[in-house]
């Protein structure tokens, strides 16, 4: 009973703090100084129409690099906790025979997987022109891989290829940053490549290249995490 009472007290106190936040909030009429300078500088200096991608990949690119490192640690941690050969998994119903998925799943995956892949490529490449970017596209790639894993349960992902691709993409990202130090103004500056015409497909310097590297890295990482959750499969000697 006391546990219930303390929970109610905690919720009421949180509710009072949040209510004071919600009541005392008024919409701002104009941007604050830092935001206004970002909105002014990104189209002028970086040549990117999408202000948010310009901030994420040039002005605050060091935070993006730190977050890429956090995703890498999370991937390594999940694979470590779930790896079957270090601590054998006591599955609830015994080691699994690969279960045949139904016809609806297979037909649906055959139609949807190319569409999702094209959509992911579109989101990544369009990051600097309209809403999109590396992170969002990488998450959509991982959802395409998840659809394939659900539709074909015997499908074995090539984990070494994904790990090597992911590490190479991360290394190229840091190398592009160092090239920014040498050639342009600072670490991960996007002016190492020519700025081009505003709004064209190949414009805004190195931002499309960085978007592609980021999308590939996030996609491979999330696919490795998804593959770690699958049960270990017993060898199929007699197929039904």
């Amino acid at each position: 009973m006391t546990r219930r009472f303390f929970v109610v007290v905690a919720i009421v106190l949180f509710g009072l703090v949040f209510a004071s936040l919600a009541i005392g909030y008024t919409e701002q009429h104009s941007l604050r100084a830092l935001a206004e300078s970002y909105v002014r500088l990104v189209p002028q200096e970086l040549g990117a129409p999408n202000v948010i991608t310009g901030i994420l990949l040039t002005y605050r690119a060091f935070d993006t690099l730190g977050e890429v490192a956090v995703l890498f640690m999370v991937g390594a941690g999940v694979v470590l906790v779930l790896s079957a050969d270090r601590w054998p998994r006591a599955a609830a119903y015994g080691p699994e025979k690969p279960r045949q998925s139904s016809e609806i799943m297979q037909s649906g995956a055959q139609i949807l997987a190319p569409l999702i892949a094209i959509f992911a490529a579109y989101i990544i490449m369009n990051g600097h022109l309209s809403a999109g970017g590396g992170f969002q596209g990488g998450a959509v790639i991982a959802s395409c891989v998840l659809l394939l894993l659900l539709a074909y349960p015997q499908y074995q992902l090539n984990i070494e290829f994904l790990s090597i691709t992911e590490s190479v993409a991360g290394a190229l990202f840091v190398l592009a940053g160092i090239a920014g130090l040498i050639v342009a103004d600072g670490f991960l500056d996007n002016r190492i490549l020519p700025l081009g015409q505003f709004g064209a497909f190949f414009s805004a310097g190195a931002i499309p290249v960085l978007s592609i590297l980021l999308g590939v890295k996030v996609g491979c990482e999330l696919s490795v995490i998804l593959d770690g959750f699958r049960p270990e499969l017993v060898e199929q000697k007699d197929q039904v």
Binding site: I11, F18, L31, E67, Q136
Partner: protein, 119 residues
């Protein structure tokens, strides 16, 4: 007006997430509470960046470069939320991996069974 509604919805979601986190005994429902709290925080962060009668900070046919600083919405809060969503999903993946191992060790999903760390 509209950002008041969005802000209140986000704060309500955080409150519901905290309540679910503290009340349930099933580990999977606690993880759902964490996820709700994270989503509420993202909504609150985007809502406080709203400028009156503003539009998205993307320069295209609707918003020209010259009038962008006066009509665009705050881009910094959106940029923070973009990365926060991916990190939230990765942390949920770690929590689910731990759930699988906890279930393997004690064959139950109730958090009352794991008392080795309590005083």
């Amino acid at each position: 007006m509209i950002s008041n509604i969005v802000l209140t919805t986000g704060l309500l979601l955080i409150l519901i997430g905290i309540w679910g986190l503290l009340t349930h005994r099933n580990i999977l429902r606690i993880i759902i509470g964490f996820s709700l709290m994270g989503t509420g925080t993202h909504i609150v962060t985007v809502a406080i960046g709203y400028v009156k009668n503003g539009t998205a900070p993307i320069i295209d046919r609707v918003l020209h470069m010259s009038e962008a600083p006066s009509r665009a919405v705050d881009p910094i809060s959106s940029a923070l939320v973009v990365t926060a969503i991916v990190i939230g999903m990765a942390v949920t993946a770690v929590m689910l991996a731990y759930t699988i191992r906890l279930y393997d060790s004690k064959k139950t999903l109730s958090i009352d069974a794991f008392t080795e760390s309590k005083w």
